[in-house]
Every structure is written in C-alpha cells, then in structure tokens.
C-alpha cells in the first residue's frame, strides 16, 4: 500500500514531476515543455479544504471507474491486481472521471484519453514515493508471509475476498504470496493460517499499546 502522511505535505509537487518524467515516453508529443501532461497523479486540495495532498489511484476493490468504462479500456490486471487503463482502447468519453470521487484519473491533454497511476508496475518504490522529499508518500507492507512456516495449503488463497493471495511455485515448494497492491490488511488470512505463517505488520499488541499510550498522553 502507498500511504500518504499528509501532515508533512507542503505541496511541492516533486511527486508529480517524478511521475511525469517516468511516464514521458508513454505520451506521444510530450516533451520537457509539456512535461506535466504525462503525469498520472497530482497534488490537489480537497473541496473546501486547505491542505495539499498527493492523489494517486487507490486501486479500489470495486472500482467505480471500471463500472463506468464503456470500452473495457479500464480493467483490473489479473497478475498485479492493479486497475489499469488500456490507452489504445480509451475513446475519451470521460465517464470514469465523474465516477471517481478521488479525482485520481488524469486527462491526457494531447492524446484525448485518460491516464492513471500504474504504480510504476512492479518497480519498487514507485517514482512518486522515491521523489517525495518529506516522507509524505511511503510504501508499507501490511501483511507478510513467513515462508519458512508456510506449507502451501492454500487456505488463505481461498479465503481472501480481494484475490490478494496467490500460491507461487518456489524452490522450497508452493508458498503463498501476498500482493501488496490488493491487500487491504483485513487480517482474515492471518487469523485462518493453520501454521501461523502470516503476520500483520501493524496491529500487533505492541503497536496497539503504543497507540493507546499516545492517546492517553503517557508516552
């Protein structure tokens, strides 16, 4: 998951520029002068709000943009679980724009189509996270698999409602793999694992106590 710690955001737009640079080749006719045309995320302010924040696609569980798309250009990539747009197929009807309440879909001013975050595919970290000078954008793994304990039984795969867990063939046999783009940290897999192989990063006892202490002003 890409998290945004907006308390630190000063609206410098370094993430936008990094995103645009990264995707410059995808937009025909975009050059350094029209650099921002290629960006797939932006820094915005909530309606009525005052604080800037980076806005990129949330890769929702039931994406409304996917419901909106009349051509099927907007699709969920079966391998990575990301919501992507097939830019060749998009006809620029703008239906997805009005269905996305995050404002995460960008209009390509040159090519009459929409552009959106692809999380820089499998590359880690994505350009926006890497460029952020203020630790606003960070990438966090919410759940992880202890592969020494995993026996590849596949229970987690069948229980995950988001399709975020898949079994993978590894030299040590079949092991489960969590797709961090899809995982929303619900914890069903962790609680069901017969070998206690799936761990939650955040909601440990230590973490919970820490939060409580902070709230009570002890720490």
């Amino acid at each position: 998951m890409i998290l945004a710690n907006i308390d630190n955001c000063v609206g410098c737009r370094a993430c936008e520029v990094a995103c645009a640079e990264k995707h410059l080749d995808d937009v025909e006719g975009a050059d350094e002068l029209t650099l921002l045309a290629a960006r797939r995320m932006h820094v915005g302010i909530s309606m009525g709000g005052t604080k800037p924040m980076p806005i990129q696609c949330r890769h929702c569980e039931d994406p409304t943009c996917l419901f909106a798309c009349i051509t099927g250009a907007m699709h969920r990539d079966p391998d990575t679980g990301m919501v992507l747009v097939d830019e060749e197929k998009c006809v620029g009807c703008w239906t997805c724009l009005k269905m996305c309440s995050f404002g995460a879909i960008m209009v390509d001013p040159i090519g009459h189509r929409v552009l959106k975050c692809d999380k820089c595919y499998e590359e880690r970290p994505p350009a926006c996270v890497e460029a952020c000078p203020n630790n606003v954008l960070v990438i966090e793994e919410v759940e992880y698999v202890d592969r020494d304990k995993c026996i590849g039984c596949g229970l987690c795969e069948s229980l995950c409602l988001r399709g975020a867990i898949k079994l993978e063939d590894t030299p040590e046999g079949r092991k489960s793999y969590i797709n961090q783009d899809l995982c929303k940290g619900c914890g069903i897999c962790a609680s069901s694992c017969p070998r206690d192989a799936i761990k939650m990063r955040f909601f440990t006892d230590e973490k919970a106590f820490e939060i409580i202490e902070q709230l009570m002003g002890v720490a």
Partner: protein, 405 residues
Amino acid sequence: MRYVIVGNGPAGINAIEAIRKVDRNNDIINISEEPYLPYSKPVMPHYIGGSVSYEKIFFRSVDFYEEMGVKAILNDRVVAFDPEKKLVVLDSGKRIPYDKLLIATGGKPRPVKIDGSNIEGIFPLTSLNYTKKIIKLLPEVKNALILGGGPLGLKAALALSHHGINVKMIVKSPQIMSQALDPDSAEILEEKLKLSKVELMLKTDVEYFEGDERVKYATLSNGEKLLCDLAIIGKGLLPKLDFLDPKKIRINVGVIVNQYMETSANDVYAAGDVAESYDLLTGGSNTVAVWPRASEQGHFAGMNMAGFKKPYPGAHRMNSLDFEGLSCIVMGDVKTIKEGFVVIIQKDPKRRIYQRIILENGLLRGAAIIGRIVNVGGINKFIRKRIPVSMVKESLLEDKATFIY
C-alpha cells in the same frame, strides 16, 4: 446451484464478475440473443466513424467466458419464463432451470410512428447488426438524417460527417439533449455542431419516408422534402420486456426492483436498462439507460444473488460526451427549476466554457460542466451521497479543489 443471466451487456457481465468474485464453483449460464461476445453499444458511433476498430468494440477479453468459467448460450432468445417451476424457455426449445435468475436484457429502441420507417436504410443505433449494415452502406451514402437529439445520435452525426456525408439532425424538441440538458447548455453544443458541419433542424420531425428498395426522401412536418439515403433513429430506449409477463412479475415502465435488485418473483433479479430502480434525486424510481448505472446494478445484483446482502444506493441521470475536444458532462437534474432552488452559473464564452450547478436545500441536485473537466468526480459524489455542500459551495467550480472522499 445454477445462476442464469439473460443478457450480456454491462449489467450481465458485471453480475458474472461479481458472482465469480465470491463463488468460484457454481454453474453460471449466460444467454444472449445476439451472436457476439460482450460488446459496447455506446462505442458504435466511434466504430462507424472509424476511430475504433472492430476488435476494440468488445469490452471484455475474447477469453472472458473461459476465464470466468461461464457457459455462454449466444444467438438464442428467451421466449418464456416460469417463476414457479424456476425455468426459462429458449427460442431453440431448450428449457433451462435456474436457482437464481438475472434479467439484464437491456433496452430496445423506442418505437416511432413514421410512415415508411421499415424501408431499407433506416436503422436504430442499438445493435452491432444494424451498425454493420450502416457501415456497409456508407460508401454510397451522401445525405444522412439523424432523428432525435440524444447523446448517441449526436455522436453518430459527428461520425458520419467525418466520412464527408451531409448530415442533418432532425430534433422534435426546441433543443438537443432535451432530457438531460437545459437550453443554455444545449446552445453551446449546438454551436459546436454547426462548426462540425452538421445541420441542425429543431422543432420539426420526419412525417414520412419514401423510397423503393432503399430510402430516398424524407418529408418533414413542415412539408420540406429532404434527400436521404441513410437515416438513424435515436429517439431513446425503452426497457426490453419481451418475454416478461406482467402477471408473473411486477412491471411499471421497467421491471421493478428493490434495493437488493430483487424483482417481485422469487429468486429473480433485474439490473440495467430493463430495471426500474430507486432514483436518488426524486425518491421515486427511474429507468435511465446509462452505462455506469447498468454496470453498477449488475454488480450489486451479482453480489446479492451470490448471497451477500448488499443494498444498492440508487442512481441518477448522467451523461458525458466529447465533441471533438468540447467535453460535456452532465450529472443529476439540471433542467428542473423550482422555487427555492439556487442556480450558480459560470461562463466564459471565449473559451467555450459553461458551468451550471443547481442546489436544493443546500444539497447538490445537478451539474452541467461544458468545455472543461474539473472536479467532476467530487461533484458527482456530492449528488450521489446527498452531502450538504454549504461548506464547499465556492470551490465546486474552481480549479484547485479536486476531490472529496
């Protein structure tokens, strides 16, 4: 357990995807009267205009049915259904029992009472078969008529004019898009149409068509006789209720559904253009035929069929189209003005920008945003969720605000 889904438009396909998300094992059968894989009807004008190739009119991959583990029965029509015995009967004589049935048959063109409208060369724009015929005729066409001023007709008019055809739009109302847009907004689009060499004839209608093998002339209600070798009828859609018997299932304009997309018949659901569902703005019901409404309803129907009780929040009218660079996005109702409604208008005629939002008791009722694309996702969310807008009224049409959550 067997799911039977009638129709493979956005509602049917999204229902299949929703069911498969939570139920990977039970049988799904998808019946469609057309012989094609799921294809997109709103893309038909783009296909005629040549900007979209044949391969790209299909909105899911060619392996969709295999990937989803769905048995598809294409080119066969449901002719009857028996909610008591829980089965549907097909044209080919097959009888298919179901445990859960989804009616997602979509819409059919509103019938027109014009003499000669059965002559060759006059088509509605509602299926791939018609579109193929239109494309085949194109090289011989010099003068085309579009009847009706809806979004699909507008797109078709522009597509035909790209082929160098003289296009005339015949619209009965005093403006185009009379169901969705207010007269001022429509005027901007009308101007743009003129630039695109589409001649607009308002407040008139075709009285009768003439021609032997092919259509040749159309005579208007004012007596004017026009050359016409192709006519496209786009006068809106009605729910397609062919095999449905009002004695067996509750029907008003469309099939009436509750918030779980259930019809009055047991284990029978309906979604998409055929369904009459809750209207967010009026509190009544509507049968608006728009793509996102159909997909969303299909999704909710699928979830509920698979046993997940998931209430559907309701829908409102919306349209969006792009006139060769002039975008037009309409959400909610921008036409009705009653006492107490607040109308905010912002315009910049030089840049062809016109924005209009309508507030009722501090709630957003509708917005038409022409010439730019700003905040549309946020505005739509305000309408859908009925969130008071007093705090953000000023920033609704500004560039800086971009979203709400």
